[in-house]
Structures are given as structure tokens and as C-alpha cells.
Amino acid sequence: MIPMLSLWQWLVLAAVPPAIAALYFLRLRRRPIEVPSTYLWKKTIEDLHVNSLWQRLRKNILLLLQLLLVLLAMIALLRPGWSGAEMTGNRFVFLVDNSASMSATDVEPTRLDDAKLRVRELIEAMEEGDEAMIISFSNFAQTVQSFTGDRRALLQRLEGIQPTARTTSLDEALQAAAGLANPGASGFEMGDVSVAEAQPARLFIFSDGRFPDVENFSLGNLYPSEEQKPVFVPIGFGDTSNLAITTFSTRRNENSPESIEPFARLENHGAEPAKIEASLFVDDELFRAREVSLPAGKATSVVFDALEQIGSADLRLEIKTGDALAIDDKAWAVVNSPTRARVLYVTVGNRNLETCLTTTRAQRIADVTIIAPDQLKPYQKSINDGAYELVIYEDVGPLPEKSAPDKDGNTKPTYRMPQANTLFIGRLPPIDSWKAESAVGGPQIIDLHRAHPMMKILDMGDVAVAEAKPLKVPPGGTTLIDSSAGPLFVIAPRGGYEDAVLAFSLQESREGETLLNTDWPIRTSFPLFVKNMLEYLGGAQEDATGTGYRVGDVVTPRGVEAVDRLTVTMPSGEPIEIGRTSLGTFHFTGTDEVGVYRLGYEGKSYGRCAVNLFSSAESRIQPRQDDPIKIGHVEVEGASLWRRGRKELWKWLLLAALGLLLLEWYVYNRRVYI
């Protein structure tokens, strides 16, 4: 381990031996004087020795000083000290918050460094046989170092904890800590053999405490006894103010769709009202600057002038604050070129759906090709190559493929599902997992899965269905529309794609006449459903402003054809290659920096996305000090008085020894007599 000394401390240390040597050169210079006889003087000094009460002591004062010096040095070697916190117990779990707010600089140099310092002190105060574990946590927890008694390893790993721009959640960190402290809890049955013996450990949380309480968690062995209560060490100063951008996005003007309006929400987490300048940059050029007044503790919305005729651009909003947390003083948004979904609609003819798919609005987000079932053959190849994002089959299915006859000589048709999302209307996909019941008449729609993007803002209470074949939900499927007879609309994953199946036809041809099977197409919810479908299954982005991501979100680029690798350029300029997953999709999880990420493949730009903090909780950086953290039923109070783990004495002892050395030198040279 490298001793943590700064340069000047080393210099001071290095100067001590020469200083001691210098004492020999600095011997007291005495003025020589010739006297008749030193007899009387010597007698005087002797007399002093003889007469003084202290004579014995003084006779040996140098010896005594030397003994004292050695004693001090020995005591210093024993490294005496007293613990500021009671380090009872011999297993410790250190949870170190490295979320965005821990980058605040109200504690020099940063809160995270302060937290590390305190953990280091605790580690150094650990005794022989003690074990500790370090977990860093933001909204996801990482075991930096599992249980070990090796202080060197602990310190090294501790130093390796890097600040992140993520939000905070204690939940996962507690799970990770409990996994080792309460191994029994991970056993599934009573008979399971625990992989490790449950050993109690003491929990130390180093954080500013800006995370939600953890209600459904039992500390178990992490709260072994009253003496070994979990300790929450609040990091940071309570009166720290912070100004933050908590939202920055763009929206298309409803009246003139060509213009894009940037808007932002600014929050003042401080006790003083503030007046700040917000500057909007477009592709790094200053576009607008506005002065914004922020009342104390309040939020303000800011809308900027519309940007006209912008194809694609990076927008950056900056506020000049000079506050403790810099990460939320900048925000990014991107305007991408609109990406239109390529949709293939296979139908025998449905005026209602065709109309909905060819409105101006729909045209803006989707490029819809409508074909009849008999025209399907020439498209088969491009369907299989992934040229479409969405294929809609209405009352038809994919074409069967030729296959070799089996042993019995029967030729069983095999089907190949498109390399795209699909929507089957009134027909089951030709896969074994999809099953339907026999037709029932007049099922009543009783429930919608409104949280699903496909179902958002839909109201289907006024929709009647004449006849349907209720579906059996395949594994992994989700019921989107449930009825009195069974699920009517189900979506289920297939590899990297999703298949949605509507259990009833929209229309029926009977004796040359086209009859509606349902009145849905004439309800207001239908065009909304079509739009949702185009956006969700087609991956279309109508507002063209790019999805705003938050730090830690997973970016899933869609509609990328025929390449195996994507290159993501981080805001710092570092390129990262990602490959297709086994499901055929791309996932990028490394959104740990804020800024604009650029996606591209084979040298071509594919798009961009902006990643921001946008967390009111993180921007509110005043540490939690008064209200305790609730973990299950336990309230962990902030140990604000708990400062240093161990008060070291040896430095002062050595300093005293050095002073004593000087005194000895003085006494020796001056022949000091009291």
C-alpha cells in the first residue's frame, strides 16, 4: 500500500533527520573568558548539584529526557488511538453511494471522496480477523469487494469506486449485502442447504441519503444486535443549494409541424431565490439566451422560440450557476431526421384500416405498402430479410414454404414468420404456441392493459364485437384486451420481435357483402390504436425529437437492417461497438455519461440520442440528516456526530518526541539549572 502522504508531508518527513544533524552543528556558541581560576565556578556548579533538592533528577536530566523520548517513540509505535465509532462486531458492509449527487463539491474535493475517506478510516481501524465488504450503489449496486480481511485489497478497491451520473436506490445494494449476510434467505425450500453460513454483519451506509425508503426489506443479519445497529453516515453539508435542469425536450408545434419548440424545466433546490441565465445552443452555436428567475425551492418552465426547418440537430441547454453539482447544469436534446416505419399491410381490402394508415399524420410516421394476399409472393424475400418493421396480416397468414415430405410421404406445410413485428387480425400466426378457442358471440370487453404503449389513451368501452375466437395466451404473452369470453388481443414475443394477435376480424365478407364484425373502426379509439401500433410495433418516431433517455436507461435502436454491429459514440468521443443479441436486437446499456450518443454503422450515421440526469431527487443535494432512513421496520438514523473512525495519537507522540529531542539538546548545551 502506498502511504497516503502528500508531497509536502514527505518533504517535512525528509527534513527531520537533517534537522537533528543540524543540532550538532548548532551547538551553543559560548564566549570564552579567561578567569583566574575555574575553581570557584566549578565549586559553584557542584554546590548546586549538592544543594539542590532536584539534584538527582537534574544530574540525570539528560538520561531522563532520553528515556522519555524513547518511551514516546515506543508508545507511538504501538499506535494508540481511540475509536470515534464503536467498531463492534467483526464483519462490516460498507455501502458507498456513487450516484450523481455524490459528485457535489460542497465537501472538498467531492462527496464521494469524503465518503471514501471515511470508509478508509474505518478500514484502517479494523482489527485482525475483521472482514469487510464494499458495495457501491447508485440505481444499481456493484459489489466492489466481497468479504475479505485484506485491508490492502479493500483500500485498493475502495479507491477504484468511480462517480456515476446515475440516480440512487438503496434497494439493490441492500439485496447485494443481504445476499452474503443472509444466505439462508436465498434458499428456495426448507431442505435447501445454505451455500454459506449466515453471518451477521454491520451495515454502514455512506450517502447523502437522497433515495426512497426501502419498505419491503428485512435487514436480518445486517442488524444483528442493538450494539451493531446499521449506521447511516450523511455526506455533505445541509445548506447546500443547487440549481438544476430537470427536463429539457422539444415538441412539434401543433399548428406548424415544421417548427420545433424546445422547452425546459428548471428547479431551485436552495433557500435563496436565484436569477440565472439559460443559454440554448444548437449544434454548439448559441441560439438563444434567457434570464430566468427561480424562486427558492420552486420550479419554473422555460419555453424557447421555435426552431424552424431543422433536419437534425443537437440542442444543449446550459445554466450558469456555479453551484456544487455541475452535472445537472447542462442538458441535451436531439432532433433526429424523422424515421418512418416501413409497414406492409396484407389485406383483401379494408377501407377503414386503409384510411387510418394513409392519413397525413400516419404518412409522416409510416411508409405503408398495401398489398393483396395474392401479391404476397414477390414480397416474401424482403419480408424475410427484415425490410419491414411491421407486417399486418388481415384475415390471411404468411405463405407456406415448400418442404421435403416426411417418412409417411405427407407434405406438411411449414411457415416462416417474417423478420419483423407482426399484427394478425382475425387469424392466428402459424406457430404452435398460438391457440384459440372456438368462436363465441358478443364478448364484452371488460379490461384494457392501459399501461402498455399499444393501449395508451384508448377507451374501448363503447366497442362492440359480434364474434371472436378468444385466445390462449402463449408463454411470455400479455393480454391487452380482455373480454368476458377470454383474451381478445394478446401480444407475445417471438425472438427479437413481437406478434400481436387480434382475436376478431374487423369485417366479414358474407355472400359478396362486406359486413362489419365490430364497430371499433368507427370509434375514436381506432385511429389512436393505429397510431400507437405504428409507433410501437413499427418503431416510428413521429415527433422526430429522439427519445430522451436518462442515465442508466437501455437504448434499443430499432429498424436497423442487415448489419451485425452498431457503433455507439459516447459523449466523451469513445466509440463502443455493440453486436446483435441472440434475439436479433440491439441493446446499449452503457449510458453512464450525460450528453449526446451517436449511433452509426459502417461509417454511416444512424441517429442520436440524448442522455440526461433529469432527476429531481438527485438534484436535491441537501443530505438527509434529520429524518431517518426506513429499511423495513428499522429506522436508521443519520449519525451526524459520527465523524472520524479513529483518532490517531501517534503523530502527536512523535511530535512530542521531536520536541523533547530539542529540549534535550537545549538542556545539554545550556546546562540548564533550575
Partner: protein, 296 residues
Amino acid sequence: MPDTQSTLLSPQMLAQLERMELVSRKIFRGRMKGERRSKRKGQSVEFSDFRNYVPGDDLRFLDWNLYARLDRLFLKMFLEEEDLHFYALIDTSASMGFGEPTKLYFAKQLAAALGFIGLVRSDRVKIETLDTAQRPAPALRGRHNLWRMLEMVEAIEPGGGTSLVEGVKNFTLRNTGKGIVVLITDLLDKNGYEAALRYLMARDYDVYVVHVLSPEEIDPDVTGDLRLIDCEDADEAEVTVSGPLLKRYRETLAAFVEGARHFCARRDITYMRADSGTPVEELIQGYLQKRGLVRG
């Protein structure tokens, strides 16, 4: 008069000293008849005894009154007037060279003054130093030898490895006669002065010790961090002179002086402490007269 008079003894002083005489508390038999009557059997009795006349006795001492009354011849015996041996022993160690005027000068003045008194009274005067390397000085008698004595005294210089004990021992070996010994010294001998005084006592001298100290020794005017160098043996003493230490020094000095005085008193040695800063006349006329060495 030789020109030495101006340095050691001034004419006024000589005039004063002329009237004085040296007194011994002990009875000494001089070799020659001197101008003094030696004391015998009590104070102030000049007549001593009668004895039968034997032929050859001085007829002048016959007691004619007794002869008339008893018709027998008796010889009056008087206290014989005899000369006195006066020795002045001057310590010439280097330490005597200190002071303003030097202690040695003071010693020489004192020795010369006392010697002068002796010469005037026809005593045998011998002024010697403790320096064993020097030739023994001749005994002088008679006023006419004053210049010689002064010349000799004048020539005394400090220095030489003079040990008090050795010097005194050497002196006592050479001078067996009894008499007055005035030892003029600063007693600052690391080997101690006691042995030296015992040598003198053993010879039954009438011993006077004049302890000469310079004002610098009595009240040192030094402060600070000092390395004191002994002028005789180059011995060093490192001291830091401060108020308390000076106080201690004075106490030590007082104890030293008192020790010497006590030592002398117990051995019937007359001890006198003299400050080399005071004029010699004062010492002789005041102190020595009081202590009975001189009678004016």
C-alpha cells in the same frame, strides 16, 4: 631613593610606615640583637629574673641595690631585645595576575610595606615567592637595604607552575628559623590550601594569611553563555551565567572565605581577606594594626 618608590610605596606611605613596627605574638629568639624586646612571661614586663653572677657577666646588669642589701651579686636578667624574622611569601601563580590593579601588585605593595617596617626596625626581612624555580631571596636587614628590597619585589612577575603546597613546602625546608610569615595569596589552588598552611604551622611560624581577592572575583561582572578558561591549567568550565547562578557564586565564595577563616582560626593563624581594589595603607593602618601584626 631609587625610582621604585613611586610605584610600590609612596613617600607619604613610607613616612607613615616608618613609625610602625612588626609585632609577633610568639617569642622568637633572634640570632642578633635587634631593636625589639621579645616578650616573655606575660605582658609588659621588661625585667625577667635574677640569677647568680658568674664571672664574665656583664657588670652593667648587676643589681647593685641587692648587693648593698644582701652583699651578694645578682645579675638582673632582662628580656632580651632581639631581631625578628619577617618573611613575606608572595603567591605568584598566574591567577594573581588578574585584577586592576593586579592582585600581585597589591601583594607586592603589601609585602614591600611590611618589609619596609621590618627593615626600619632592623628585623630580618625576607621576601620570597612561591615559585620553586626562582632563586631564594637573600635576607635583608637595615634601612639601607630598602632599595634592594624594593628592587627585588619589583622584579617579581606572575606565572610559573606555582603550586601553593609545593611553594610553601620548599620555603619551610629552606627557612628553619622561626618568625612571622605573611602569606599573601588568593588561595585559589585546586589542590587546596590546607596542606600548605599545615606546613607553616608545623614550623611554628607566626602565620598571617592575607587572602587577596580582586573585585572581579568578589563580584563578577559577566553574563551570558560562557566558556570559562582557567589561566593556570587551561581547564574549562561551561556556564550560563544568570542571576541565580551569580547568587550561587557569591554564596560559594562566601563559603570559601569562611572556610579559610575557620581553618585559620582553629590553627591560630591570623586570616585577613583583602580586596585588591583597596589601598594598601588602609589595610595596614586599619586592619593589620587591629589584628596586631603592626604597631604604630
